[in-house]
Symmetry: C2
Subunit: 211 residues, 2 copies
Protein backbone atom coordinates (compact mmCIF):
# COMPACT_ATOMS: atom_id res chain seq x y z
CA UNK A 1 0.00 0.00 0.00
CA UNK A 2 1.35 3.47 -0.79
CA UNK A 3 1.53 6.07 1.94
CA UNK A 4 -1.37 7.90 0.32
CA UNK A 5 -3.53 4.76 0.18
CA UNK A 6 -2.72 4.11 3.83
CA UNK A 7 -3.79 7.65 4.63
CA UNK A 8 -7.14 7.07 2.90
CA UNK A 9 -7.73 3.81 4.73
CA UNK A 10 -6.97 5.41 8.09
CA UNK A 11 -9.19 8.38 7.30
CA UNK A 12 -12.01 6.08 6.32
CA UNK A 13 -11.69 3.98 9.48
CA UNK A 14 -11.75 7.15 11.55
CA UNK A 15 -14.85 8.43 9.72
CA UNK A 16 -16.58 5.10 10.41
CA UNK A 17 -15.70 5.36 14.11
CA UNK A 18 -17.09 8.89 14.24
CA UNK A 19 -20.35 7.89 12.51
CA UNK A 20 -20.66 4.94 14.91
CA UNK A 21 -20.25 7.17 17.98
CA UNK A 22 -22.61 9.80 16.60
CA UNK A 23 -25.22 7.10 15.95
CA UNK A 24 -24.98 5.94 19.53
CA UNK A 25 -25.16 9.42 21.00
CA UNK A 26 -27.98 10.68 18.76
CA UNK A 27 -29.94 7.57 19.71
CA UNK A 28 -29.35 8.08 23.41
CA UNK A 29 -29.84 11.80 23.90
CA UNK A 30 -31.27 13.00 20.57
CA UNK A 31 -29.64 14.99 17.79
CA UNK A 32 -30.33 18.33 19.41
CA UNK A 33 -28.86 17.47 22.76
CA UNK A 34 -25.71 15.73 21.51
CA UNK A 35 -22.63 17.91 21.04
CA UNK A 36 -19.69 17.61 18.65
CA UNK A 37 -17.41 17.62 21.70
CA UNK A 38 -19.19 14.65 23.31
CA UNK A 39 -18.98 12.68 20.08
CA UNK A 40 -15.28 13.53 19.69
CA UNK A 41 -14.60 12.45 23.28
CA UNK A 42 -16.43 9.20 22.66
CA UNK A 43 -14.14 8.50 19.68
CA UNK A 44 -11.10 9.66 21.66
CA UNK A 45 -10.15 12.58 19.39
CA UNK A 46 -10.31 16.35 19.70
CA UNK A 47 -13.22 18.51 18.59
CA UNK A 48 -10.99 19.97 15.87
CA UNK A 49 -10.00 16.46 14.79
CA UNK A 50 -13.67 15.56 14.36
CA UNK A 51 -14.44 18.76 12.47
CA UNK A 52 -11.67 17.82 10.04
CA UNK A 53 -13.82 14.85 8.96
CA UNK A 54 -17.30 16.37 9.34
CA UNK A 55 -17.64 20.13 9.09
CA UNK A 56 -20.79 20.33 11.25
CA UNK A 57 -23.20 18.32 13.38
CA UNK A 58 -25.64 18.46 10.46
CA UNK A 59 -23.08 16.87 8.12
CA UNK A 60 -22.60 14.14 10.71
CA UNK A 61 -26.34 13.58 10.97
CA UNK A 62 -26.53 13.18 7.19
CA UNK A 63 -23.74 10.61 7.30
CA UNK A 64 -25.45 8.65 10.09
CA UNK A 65 -28.74 8.50 8.17
CA UNK A 66 -27.09 7.71 4.84
CA UNK A 67 -25.19 4.80 6.35
CA UNK A 68 -28.25 3.27 7.95
CA UNK A 69 -30.17 3.60 4.68
CA UNK A 70 -27.36 1.95 2.71
CA UNK A 71 -27.19 -0.93 5.20
CA UNK A 72 -30.96 -1.51 5.14
CA UNK A 73 -31.05 -1.39 1.38
CA UNK A 74 -28.19 -3.89 1.03
CA UNK A 75 -29.82 -6.19 3.54
CA UNK A 76 -33.38 -6.32 2.25
CA UNK A 77 -33.80 -4.97 -1.24
CA UNK A 78 -32.36 -7.66 -3.54
CA UNK A 79 -34.60 -10.61 -2.70
CA UNK A 80 -37.78 -8.70 -2.09
CA UNK A 81 -39.48 -8.51 -5.49
CA UNK A 82 -41.20 -11.69 -6.62
CA UNK A 83 -43.86 -9.80 -8.60
CA UNK A 84 -46.67 -10.61 -6.15
CA UNK A 85 -45.62 -8.64 -3.09
CA UNK A 86 -45.45 -11.74 -0.89
CA UNK A 87 -41.64 -11.83 -0.72
CA UNK A 88 -41.61 -8.14 0.25
CA UNK A 89 -44.20 -8.72 2.98
CA UNK A 90 -42.02 -11.51 4.37
CA UNK A 91 -39.01 -9.16 4.18
CA UNK A 92 -40.89 -6.61 6.34
CA UNK A 93 -41.32 -9.24 9.05
CA UNK A 94 -37.67 -10.20 8.70
CA UNK A 95 -36.69 -6.53 9.02
CA UNK A 96 -38.79 -6.20 12.20
CA UNK A 97 -37.13 -9.27 13.68
CA UNK A 98 -33.70 -7.99 12.65
CA UNK A 99 -34.46 -4.64 14.31
CA UNK A 100 -34.81 -6.43 17.64
CA UNK A 101 -31.06 -7.10 17.38
CA UNK A 102 -30.11 -3.43 16.87
CA UNK A 103 -31.92 -1.47 19.61
CA UNK A 104 -29.59 1.53 19.28
CA UNK A 105 -30.62 1.99 15.64
CA UNK A 106 -34.30 1.53 16.42
CA UNK A 107 -33.93 4.10 19.16
CA UNK A 108 -32.05 6.44 16.81
CA UNK A 109 -34.90 6.44 14.32
CA UNK A 110 -37.59 6.76 16.97
CA UNK A 111 -35.94 9.80 18.53
CA UNK A 112 -34.86 11.46 15.27
CA UNK A 113 -38.17 10.99 13.46
CA UNK A 114 -40.04 12.51 16.41
CA UNK A 115 -37.58 15.43 16.73
CA UNK A 116 -37.68 15.94 12.97
CA UNK A 117 -41.43 16.57 12.93
CA UNK A 118 -40.41 20.16 13.70
CA UNK A 119 -39.96 21.82 10.27
CA UNK A 120 -36.87 23.61 11.63
CA UNK A 121 -35.05 20.35 12.42
CA UNK A 122 -32.21 19.69 9.95
CA UNK A 123 -33.51 16.17 9.25
CA UNK A 124 -37.11 17.31 8.67
CA UNK A 125 -36.96 17.01 4.88
CA UNK A 126 -35.07 13.75 5.10
CA UNK A 127 -37.79 12.19 7.26
CA UNK A 128 -40.68 13.70 5.29
CA UNK A 129 -39.20 12.21 2.10
CA UNK A 130 -38.30 8.95 3.80
CA UNK A 131 -41.88 8.47 4.98
CA UNK A 132 -43.35 9.39 1.60
CA UNK A 133 -40.96 6.91 -0.05
CA UNK A 134 -41.59 4.15 2.48
CA UNK A 135 -45.38 4.49 2.43
CA UNK A 136 -45.25 4.64 -1.39
CA UNK A 137 -43.11 1.50 -1.49
CA UNK A 138 -45.49 -0.38 0.81
CA UNK A 139 -48.42 0.74 -1.31
CA UNK A 140 -46.79 -0.62 -4.49
CA UNK A 141 -46.15 -3.97 -2.80
CA UNK A 142 -49.75 -4.20 -1.61
CA UNK A 143 -51.05 -3.18 -5.04
CA UNK A 144 -49.09 -6.07 -6.58
CA UNK A 145 -50.51 -8.40 -3.94
CA UNK A 146 -54.05 -7.23 -4.78
CA UNK A 147 -53.36 -7.88 -8.48
CA UNK A 148 -52.02 -11.34 -7.62
CA UNK A 149 -55.21 -12.09 -5.68
CA UNK A 150 -53.32 -12.58 -2.42
CA UNK A 151 -55.23 -10.05 -0.30
CA UNK A 152 -58.66 -10.12 1.28
CA UNK A 153 -61.12 -8.55 -1.20
CA UNK A 154 -61.66 -4.85 -0.57
CA UNK A 155 -58.17 -4.21 0.84
CA UNK A 156 -57.15 -0.59 0.14
CA UNK A 157 -53.36 -0.49 -0.52
CA UNK A 158 -53.09 3.24 0.28
CA UNK A 159 -54.75 2.90 3.71
CA UNK A 160 -52.96 -0.34 4.56
CA UNK A 161 -49.56 1.05 3.55
CA UNK A 162 -49.94 3.94 5.98
CA UNK A 163 -51.29 1.65 8.66
CA UNK A 164 -48.44 -0.88 8.33
CA UNK A 165 -45.71 1.75 8.43
CA UNK A 166 -47.41 3.31 11.47
CA UNK A 167 -47.74 -0.09 13.13
CA UNK A 168 -44.03 -0.80 12.69
CA UNK A 169 -43.07 2.61 14.11
CA UNK A 170 -45.40 2.34 17.07
CA UNK A 171 -44.31 -1.20 17.91
CA UNK A 172 -40.73 0.03 18.08
CA UNK A 173 -41.63 2.44 20.87
CA UNK A 174 -43.48 -0.26 22.83
CA UNK A 175 -40.56 -2.62 22.33
CA UNK A 176 -37.96 -0.05 23.40
CA UNK A 177 -39.93 0.61 26.58
CA UNK A 178 -40.52 -3.05 27.36
CA UNK A 179 -38.20 -5.26 25.33
CA UNK A 180 -39.86 -8.52 24.31
CA UNK A 181 -37.72 -10.05 21.57
CA UNK A 182 -40.62 -11.31 19.48
CA UNK A 183 -43.04 -8.39 19.91
CA UNK A 184 -42.32 -6.46 16.72
CA UNK A 185 -42.10 -9.39 14.32
CA UNK A 186 -45.01 -11.36 15.78
CA UNK A 187 -47.54 -8.52 15.87
CA UNK A 188 -46.56 -7.40 12.36
CA UNK A 189 -46.85 -10.96 11.03
CA UNK A 190 -50.28 -11.33 12.65
CA UNK A 191 -51.52 -8.08 11.11
CA UNK A 192 -50.14 -8.97 7.66
CA UNK A 193 -51.75 -12.39 7.87
CA UNK A 194 -55.14 -10.72 8.41
CA UNK A 195 -54.74 -8.99 5.04
CA UNK A 196 -53.76 -12.18 3.20
CA UNK A 197 -55.78 -15.08 1.85
CA UNK A 198 -52.64 -17.28 1.78
CA UNK A 199 -50.32 -18.18 4.67
CA UNK A 200 -47.73 -15.39 5.04
CA UNK A 201 -44.90 -17.49 6.37
CA UNK A 202 -45.56 -20.93 4.87
CA UNK A 203 -42.47 -21.58 2.73
CA UNK A 204 -44.58 -23.87 0.52
CA UNK A 205 -46.47 -20.80 -0.69
CA UNK A 206 -44.26 -19.10 -3.22
CA UNK A 207 -45.46 -15.81 -4.62
CA UNK A 208 -45.97 -15.95 -8.37
CA UNK A 209 -46.97 -13.20 -10.74
CA UNK A 210 -50.54 -13.73 -11.96
CA UNK A 211 -51.45 -14.95 -15.46
CA UNK B 1 -61.62 37.89 47.41
CA UNK B 2 -59.14 38.14 50.28
CA UNK B 3 -55.55 39.13 49.58
CA UNK B 4 -54.48 35.57 50.32
CA UNK B 5 -57.07 34.11 47.91
CA UNK B 6 -55.92 36.59 45.29
CA UNK B 7 -52.36 35.47 45.86
CA UNK B 8 -53.37 31.84 45.33
CA UNK B 9 -55.26 32.67 42.15
CA UNK B 10 -52.31 34.62 40.75
CA UNK B 11 -49.91 31.83 41.68
CA UNK B 12 -52.14 29.29 40.01
CA UNK B 13 -52.43 31.36 36.81
CA UNK B 14 -48.65 31.72 36.74
CA UNK B 15 -48.16 27.96 37.22
CA UNK B 16 -50.57 27.35 34.33
CA UNK B 17 -48.60 29.74 32.13
CA UNK B 18 -45.34 28.00 33.00
CA UNK B 19 -46.77 24.55 32.27
CA UNK B 20 -48.14 25.87 28.97
CA UNK B 21 -44.75 27.27 27.91
CA UNK B 22 -42.91 24.15 29.01
CA UNK B 23 -45.34 22.02 26.99
CA UNK B 24 -44.62 24.07 23.91
CA UNK B 25 -40.86 24.01 24.34
CA UNK B 26 -40.61 20.30 25.25
CA UNK B 27 -42.67 19.56 22.15
CA UNK B 28 -40.49 21.69 19.92
CA UNK B 29 -36.97 20.87 21.07
CA UNK B 30 -37.42 17.90 23.39
CA UNK B 31 -37.17 17.69 27.16
CA UNK B 32 -33.41 17.27 27.18
CA UNK B 33 -32.68 20.27 25.00
CA UNK B 34 -35.09 22.71 26.65
CA UNK B 35 -33.70 24.81 29.50
CA UNK B 36 -35.38 26.32 32.55
CA UNK B 37 -34.10 29.71 31.38
CA UNK B 38 -35.75 29.40 27.94
CA UNK B 39 -39.05 28.42 29.53
CA UNK B 40 -38.83 31.33 31.99
CA UNK B 41 -38.09 33.75 29.16
CA UNK B 42 -41.06 32.41 27.22
CA UNK B 43 -43.31 33.15 30.21
CA UNK B 44 -41.62 36.53 30.74
CA UNK B 45 -40.28 35.82 34.24
CA UNK B 46 -36.82 35.20 35.67
CA UNK B 47 -35.21 31.80 36.09
CA UNK B 48 -35.48 32.24 39.87
CA UNK B 49 -39.13 33.20 39.50
CA UNK B 50 -39.80 29.96 37.66
CA UNK B 51 -37.88 27.86 40.18
CA UNK B 52 -40.12 29.32 42.90
CA UNK B 53 -43.03 27.44 41.27
CA UNK B 54 -41.20 24.33 40.03
CA UNK B 55 -38.03 23.29 41.81
CA UNK B 56 -36.53 21.50 38.78
CA UNK B 57 -37.01 20.72 35.10
CA UNK B 58 -38.08 17.24 36.16
CA UNK B 59 -40.84 18.64 38.38
CA UNK B 60 -42.00 20.71 35.42
CA UNK B 61 -42.02 17.65 33.16
CA UNK B 62 -44.18 15.83 35.71
CA UNK B 63 -46.62 18.75 35.76
CA UNK B 64 -46.81 18.84 31.95
CA UNK B 65 -47.57 15.13 31.73
CA UNK B 66 -50.03 15.16 34.63
CA UNK B 67 -52.00 17.99 33.06
CA UNK B 68 -52.28 16.30 29.68
CA UNK B 69 -53.40 13.07 31.35
CA UNK B 70 -56.04 14.89 33.40
CA UNK B 71 -57.36 16.66 30.30
CA UNK B 72 -57.55 13.45 28.26
CA UNK B 73 -59.26 11.62 31.06
CA UNK B 74 -61.88 14.35 31.55
CA UNK B 75 -62.51 14.48 27.82
CA UNK B 76 -62.95 10.82 27.03
CA UNK B 77 -63.43 8.60 30.02
CA UNK B 78 -67.02 9.24 31.21
CA UNK B 79 -68.96 8.17 28.12
CA UNK B 80 -66.72 5.38 27.03
CA UNK B 81 -68.04 2.32 28.86
CA UNK B 82 -71.21 0.80 27.41
CA UNK B 83 -70.27 -2.74 28.47
CA UNK B 84 -69.54 -3.93 24.91
CA UNK B 85 -66.42 -1.92 24.05
CA UNK B 86 -68.11 -0.25 21.08
CA UNK B 87 -68.42 3.17 22.74
CA UNK B 88 -64.75 3.02 23.73
CA UNK B 89 -63.70 2.13 20.19
CA UNK B 90 -65.65 5.12 18.92
CA UNK B 91 -63.98 7.26 21.58
CA UNK B 92 -60.54 6.19 20.26
CA UNK B 93 -61.47 7.50 16.82
CA UNK B 94 -62.80 10.68 18.39
CA UNK B 95 -59.54 11.09 20.32
CA UNK B 96 -57.53 10.66 17.10
CA UNK B 97 -59.63 13.31 15.37
CA UNK B 98 -59.33 15.59 18.38
CA UNK B 99 -55.52 15.16 18.34
CA UNK B 100 -55.43 16.69 14.86
CA UNK B 101 -56.48 19.95 16.55
CA UNK B 102 -53.62 19.92 19.09
CA UNK B 103 -50.43 19.28 17.09
CA UNK B 104 -48.19 20.66 19.84
CA UNK B 105 -49.45 18.01 22.27
CA UNK B 106 -49.15 15.24 19.69
CA UNK B 107 -45.62 16.40 19.02
CA UNK B 108 -44.88 16.56 22.76
CA UNK B 109 -45.83 12.93 23.25
CA UNK B 110 -44.03 11.75 20.11
CA UNK B 111 -40.77 13.40 21.17
CA UNK B 112 -40.99 12.56 24.87
CA UNK B 113 -42.00 8.92 24.40
CA UNK B 114 -39.07 8.40 22.02
CA UNK B 115 -36.60 10.20 24.31
CA UNK B 116 -37.96 8.29 27.30
CA UNK B 117 -37.09 4.90 25.82
CA UNK B 118 -33.67 5.57 27.36
CA UNK B 119 -33.93 4.11 30.91
CA UNK B 120 -31.98 7.13 32.20
CA UNK B 121 -34.62 9.62 31.00
CA UNK B 122 -36.65 11.09 33.90
CA UNK B 123 -39.94 10.19 32.16
CA UNK B 124 -38.89 6.59 31.40
CA UNK B 125 -40.99 5.03 34.16
CA UNK B 126 -43.91 7.32 33.38
CA UNK B 127 -43.99 6.19 29.74
CA UNK B 128 -43.34 2.52 30.52
CA UNK B 129 -46.31 2.59 32.93
CA UNK B 130 -48.42 4.69 30.58
CA UNK B 131 -47.96 2.18 27.77
CA UNK B 132 -48.64 -0.80 30.00
CA UNK B 133 -51.82 0.92 31.24
CA UNK B 134 -52.96 2.01 27.77
CA UNK B 135 -52.34 -1.37 26.15
CA UNK B 136 -54.06 -3.03 29.13
CA UNK B 137 -57.04 -0.69 28.78
CA UNK B 138 -57.35 -1.40 25.05
CA UNK B 139 -57.14 -5.12 25.74
CA UNK B 140 -60.00 -4.94 28.26
CA UNK B 141 -62.18 -3.04 25.77
CA UNK B 142 -61.48 -5.59 23.03
CA UNK B 143 -62.14 -8.46 25.44
CA UNK B 144 -65.57 -6.98 26.18
CA UNK B 145 -66.19 -6.61 22.45
CA UNK B 146 -65.27 -10.28 21.92
CA UNK B 147 -67.69 -11.29 24.70
CA UNK B 148 -70.42 -9.15 23.09
CA UNK B 149 -69.85 -10.91 19.78
CA UNK B 150 -68.86 -7.68 18.03
CA UNK B 151 -65.46 -8.78 16.72
CA UNK B 152 -64.44 -11.04 13.86
CA UNK B 153 -64.07 -14.59 15.25
CA UNK B 154 -60.50 -15.38 16.23
CA UNK B 155 -59.56 -11.79 17.15
CA UNK B 156 -56.85 -11.83 19.84
CA UNK B 157 -57.40 -8.86 22.21
CA UNK B 158 -53.78 -8.88 23.45
CA UNK B 159 -52.28 -8.69 19.95
CA UNK B 160 -54.85 -6.18 18.68
CA UNK B 161 -54.43 -3.92 21.72
CA UNK B 162 -50.70 -3.61 21.06
CA UNK B 163 -51.28 -3.17 17.34
CA UNK B 164 -53.90 -0.42 17.80
CA UNK B 165 -51.81 1.57 20.27
CA UNK B 166 -48.82 1.23 17.90
CA UNK B 167 -50.95 2.27 14.94
CA UNK B 168 -52.12 5.42 16.71
CA UNK B 169 -48.54 6.34 17.71
CA UNK B 170 -47.15 5.72 14.24
CA UNK B 171 -49.92 7.65 12.51
CA UNK B 172 -49.08 10.64 14.69
CA UNK B 173 -45.55 10.75 13.28
CA UNK B 174 -46.80 10.48 9.69
CA UNK B 175 -49.36 13.18 10.37
CA UNK B 176 -46.84 15.53 12.01
CA UNK B 177 -44.56 15.17 8.99
CA UNK B 178 -47.32 15.61 6.45
CA UNK B 179 -50.44 17.07 8.05
CA UNK B 180 -53.61 15.68 6.50
CA UNK B 181 -56.47 16.55 8.86
CA UNK B 182 -58.31 13.26 8.45
CA UNK B 183 -55.34 10.89 8.31
CA UNK B 184 -55.26 9.72 11.92
CA UNK B 185 -58.99 9.28 12.45
CA UNK B 186 -59.74 7.74 9.06
CA UNK B 187 -57.00 5.12 9.09
CA UNK B 188 -57.80 4.15 12.69
CA UNK B 189 -61.53 3.89 11.89
CA UNK B 190 -60.74 1.70 8.85
CA UNK B 191 -58.56 -0.63 10.91
CA UNK B 192 -61.12 -0.86 13.74
CA UNK B 193 -63.87 -1.60 11.23
CA UNK B 194 -61.84 -4.58 9.97
CA UNK B 195 -61.99 -6.06 13.46
CA UNK B 196 -65.74 -5.54 13.83
CA UNK B 197 -68.74 -7.45 12.52
CA UNK B 198 -70.99 -4.37 13.06
CA UNK B 199 -70.58 -0.87 11.60
CA UNK B 200 -68.21 1.09 13.86
CA UNK B 201 -69.66 4.53 13.28
CA UNK B 202 -73.31 3.83 12.47
CA UNK B 203 -75.20 5.65 15.24
CA UNK B 204 -78.06 3.17 14.84
CA UNK B 205 -75.78 0.47 16.24
CA UNK B 206 -75.73 0.93 19.98
CA UNK B 207 -73.45 -1.32 21.97
CA UNK B 208 -75.34 -3.50 24.45
CA UNK B 209 -73.98 -5.87 27.01
CA UNK B 210 -74.71 -9.47 25.97
CA UNK B 211 -77.37 -11.65 27.59
Amino acid sequence: MTARAEGYATGRARRDQIVESATELFARVGYRHATILQIAQHVGISRTGLLHHFASKEALLEAVLARRDAEDMARFRPSADDGTGLAAMRAWVELSRYNASVPHLVSLYAVLSAEACDPRHPAHDYFAQRYARTVGGFERVLTKAVAAGLLVPGTDPAVEARALVALMDGLQIQWLLDPDPSLMGDVLAAKLQQLLVVPLLDPAVVGRAPG
